[in-house]
Amino acid sequence: MKTWLKVLAVLLLAYAVIASFLFPLAPGGLAVDIDKISPGENNFTLTGYNTHFTNDSLQVFVASGETYFCCTILEVLDANKVQVSVALPDTLPSNDIGFYANTPVDGTVYVQKPISSKDFTFIEGVKPMSACQVTVSNDEHRNFGYPFQIIIFETIRNLMWHVPMWFTMFVLMGISFAQSIRVLSKSGREDALDASISFKTIDMYDLKAATAANTGLLFCILGLVTGSIWARFTWGAWWTNDPQLNGAMVVFLMYMAYFILRNSVNDEEKRARLAAIFNIFAFILMVVLLMVMPRFAEGLHPGKSGNPAFSSYDLDSSLRMVFYPAVLGYILLGWWLYSIHLRIKKLEWRDEK
């Protein structure tokens, strides 16, 4: 591996690690402390996350469809908390109720909450007298920051840790797959006998395939474990029946089987060929299990079911800025680890001859 690639790997990883922790989360609406709104006066506290509420520029309003009712601000408790009161009429145009807060710094933040509004009568198109004019800023991330999503919160940063593991695994398994094809494309291993000179032999290709799969397995395990932790605190269970998860586990077991098969054959040529055939099937099955199957099933992984193109992943530009360098950094690191491991294996192999 070239030195500049190693330098690049270190720089990219350093950037990814620092940026994944230091960039802030964009402001968002966290909660309101009422479950039910009724005609007349309603008092509630609106809580935001990473917001900048101040006395002079904050505007809080309740929306019913496209109609807005401005709230009187009773007290701004802190930058994320405000106590307000709102007067609502008996008739509302829509039972689609939302809570918004406007500040010049954050733009408009929105609180998602199912709310009971059964005391109102709903007439579509009605224009209540007390409605007020507000400008809803759709520019959600006026300040630079990772997108705010309820339930996910700060764990969106895991994107820069968990997902590159799988990308790296794919690249390493791809290297392994290519080397396995080279094993099968060689007819004999006569040339392997004086292999102390040449490395272009079946044995060497087999060694490369096994080493790449070994390093790939490290990233597979890391992906499984980090995914499991993330799932526990987002979906509520260490393991769920998501097609992506089960596919990943099958891939893990498949590559374990590859190593068991490879270590159980003593004859070197037979070992190289058997392992290569198994590895080719394993790689193709991996692509099917991780990239094709999840599209046909309902799953919990975002952007997986249906027919996602790479660009339609719901990635925010702030996430892309860190995610792509992180992926590249981890791929280079994986390649680096693989090349170190391979050098060791080559020396061991030469010692045995």
Partner: protein, 71 residues
């Protein structure tokens, strides 16, 4: 080397013991401050995995060095 492993193991065990002692449940501990602790746990796992791999490679090199010295 063996002593170091013992120290690391003790450190990890003490860390694991602190979590339930301070919070009533895993949720309470990990949901604090916008779930940032989940990210720290994930990052720690990734670093631990990579370091473990480097240690394994390190041992292989040591073995090679030893064998080279003997012959």
């Amino acid at each position: 080397m063996k002593n170091n492993f013992l120290k690391i193991a003790l450190f990890v065990i003490s860390l694991v013991m602190i979590i339930p002692a301070k919070a009533a449940s895993l949720e309470e501990y990990f949901y604090a401050s916008g779930k940032i602790r989940v990210v720290i746990a994930v990052a720690a796992v990734v670093l631990a995995g990579l370091i473990t791999y480097v240690i394994i490679l390190d041992r292989k090199v040591s073995k090679l060095e030893k064998r080279n010295k003997e012959s």
